[in-house]
């Protein structure tokens, strides 16, 4: 493999990391509050707003049911409005983020619903406001689940990022299609696949490590 190709692989790896990282951060910034709201706003719950909950749920489901490649091309006007251009790696962050938000929202919702309702009752009995319950009880208690959810989201976004070549986004997936497939360079394809496998392994391992760190539910040996 030539030095040139190695440079291309390194650049593509960086582009993938960049797209996925930005999409995850923005996706979490919007997705976590949405997930918290979805988990607490059914009838009789902490932030009871059944109508808003239903509408938001439909929007989330609708976004999640559109195949990613179709989402990428169908929101090109939105992408142009937000990113100033509809092609290129930075532009590709827009559809990735829009896919990430509802996905992270659902994962966070599930993690929060796992929190024992007895804890909410205990906090209410202490005179906590709904916001205090969310900040001091629900999010800290759901943190292991949220961490694993974000890990899953990152892994999925790495997969999605391979499709952004359709709008001129670069990265590992795009390199694999254009060189490995269209120019028939199996060594490039192999290198792309290996890098992706390593990347996903690293993300998964790091995510599980962090989730274990924040999970105090299981007794462990603390140097006794």
């Amino acid at each position: 493999m030539s030095a040139n190709l190695i440079n291309m692989l390194m650049e593509a790896t960086w582009q993938t990391v960049y797209m996925v990282a930005v999409a995850t951060v923005i996706g979490a910034v919007f997705g976590i509050p949405i997930g918290v709201f979805l988990a607490c706003s059914q009838r009789g719950e902490l932030l009871s707003a059944p109508l808003v909950n239903k509408v938001l749920g439909v929007i989330v489901n609708a976004t999640r049911s559109v195949p990613f490649i179709i989402l990428v091309v169908s929101i090109i006007p939105v992408t142009r409005f937000i990113a100033g251009t509809s092609i290129g790696t930075t532009a590709a962050i827009v559809p990735l983020t829009i896919a990430a938000i509802p996905f992270i929202g659902r994962l966070v919702e599930n993690a929060i619903r796992e929190v024992d309702s007895g804890l909410i009752e205990a906090a209410r009995a202490m005179g906590a406001t709904p916001m205090q319950i969310i900040r001091k009880v629900l999010i800290p208690e759901a943190l292991p689940g949220i961490t694993l959810g974000l890990t899953l989201a990152v892994v999925s976004l790495i997969g999605y990022s391979a499709m952004v070549g359709a709008v001129g986004g670069e990265g590992l997936g795009d390199l694999g299609i254009r060189y490995g497939y269209q120019r028939f360079m199996p060594s490039v394809m192999l290198a792309v696949v290996v890098i992706l496998i390593v990347m996903v392994q690293l993300v998964q391992t790091a995510g599980e490590f962090l989730a274990r760190r924040v999970d105090k539910r299981a007794p462990r040996n603390r140097g006794r």
């Binding site: 024992d116 007895g118 804890l119 009752e121 205990a122 906090a123 209410r124 009995a125 202490m126 005179g127 906590a128 406001t129 205090q132 001091k136 009880v137 800290p140 208690e141 943190l143 924040v214 105090k216 539910r217 299981a218 007794p219 462990r220 603390r222």
Partner: protein, 353 residues
């Protein structure tokens, strides 16, 4: 905590009802027409089977449930009609402990106890001293930095108690707080609750399905069945003279005085012809509970007394005994008159031929 003397608040339930809407229309009454006064500084037990409505009743005290009729008052505040902000203020005066502890797994013992103070907006420098005191009061200084998952059930409930006391409440609610604990641990937790009641003077309202819990710490008891209070009063009176069938069935589990099976099987309600013995339950109360009354009766009346079963227990510090005896049926009237003259309650259970 002696410098922070807490005094208990009274709780009153007036004609309280709670109806839950049912699926497919209609309502089901969890509570009907409940009236109960809990005096400040007492430990009052509400006992009932699961589904009797005791949990709903308890949750009305801090507004986790709203009554559909009647009023619940704590320290003069109408809980059922309080707005959200007022309810949060009331709740800071009412601590609560739970059967399954409900501790935050993500917080250490120290941090769990600090939570109600953080919620109340207590300045951080005050929190430290208060939490240290509370953790020491429940005897967990060594475990302050541990997480709940590393504690035993009894230790977890101690954390729950410390947490419930953090905002210096006037009332402590206990929702089956010992039901998930083994008998030995139950005893230590009950002792702790009794100490707290004595030292801080706060009112404790507890619900349980175990009469032993009531016997050990409650000065007053209300028996609830099918959403109604069927009997209430001082624990000693309820134990020594239960009126309602539900109360009796709860008591039979704890006083341990039931007829041996071989006698119960051959007992009849009416006196058979021919020689027979009358089976009598004697409830020894008050000063005479420890007197050798039966021996004296046997001597003075020249009467043979068979003791079939019996036990002497303490409620608070007052002893009371329950004895099942049999005497010659022809002279049973004499025996009962003798016992009644000595202030003992008797009850004819039946006859054996």
């Amino acid at each position: 905590m002696a410098e922070n003397q807490i005094t208990g608040a009274g709780i009153t339930f007036e004609n309280v009802g709670k109806a839950f809407p049912q699926k497919g229309g209609g309502t089901v009454n969890a509570l009907e027409n409940v009236s109960l006064t809990v005096e400040p500084g007492t430990i009052t037990g509400i006992i009932g089977r699961s589904g009797a409505g005791k949990s709903t009743l308890l949750r009305m005290v801090n507004g986790l449930e709203q009554p559909t009729s009647g009023t619940v008052t704590v320290a003069g505040h109408d809980v059922g009609r309080a707005g959200a902000a007022e309810l949060r203020r009331i709740r800071r005066d009412v601590g609560m402990i739970f059967q399954h502890f409900n501790l935050l797994s993500s917080r250490t013992v120290y941090e769990n106890v600090a939570l109600p103070l953080e919620i109340a907006g207590t300045p951080a420098r005050e929190i430290k001293g208060r939490v240290d005191d509370l953790v020491a009061r429940v005897g967990l200084e060594q475990l302050a930095k541990r997480y709940p998952a590393e504690l035993s059930g009894g230790q977890k409930q101690r954390v729950g108690i410390a947490r419930a006391l953090a905002t210096q409440p006037k009332v402590l609610l206990s929702d089956e707080a010992t039901s998930a604990l083994d008998p030995e641990t139950t005893q230590t937790v009950l002792d702790l609750l009794a100490d707290i009641n004595r030292d801080l003077g706060l009112t404790i309202l507890l619900i349980t399905h175990e009469m032993a819990v009531v016997r050990d710490i409650a000065s007053h008891v209300a028996v609830i069945d099918g959403g109604r209070i069927v009997e209430q009063g001082a624990t000693y009176d309820i134990f020594t003279a239960p009126q309602h069938a539900t109360t009796r069935s709860f008591l039979s589990g704890v006083t341990g005085v039931t007829l041996p099976r071989f006698i119960a099987d051959q007992m009849s309600a009416t006196r058979p012809t021919g020689p027979a013995r009358e089976v009598i339950r004697i409830t020894f109360v008050g000063e005479n509970a420890t007197d050798p009354l039966l021996a004296r009766m046997s001597e003075e009346l020249g009467l043979q007394v068979n003791i079939l079963a019996g036990a002497i227990e303490e409620i608070g510090t007052r002893p009371f005994g329950n004895l099942l005896i049999s005497v010659d049926a022809t002279r049973a009237d004499e025996a009962r008159a003798y016992l009644q003259n000595h202030d003992q309650r008797t009850e004819v259970l039946g006859y054996v031929g």
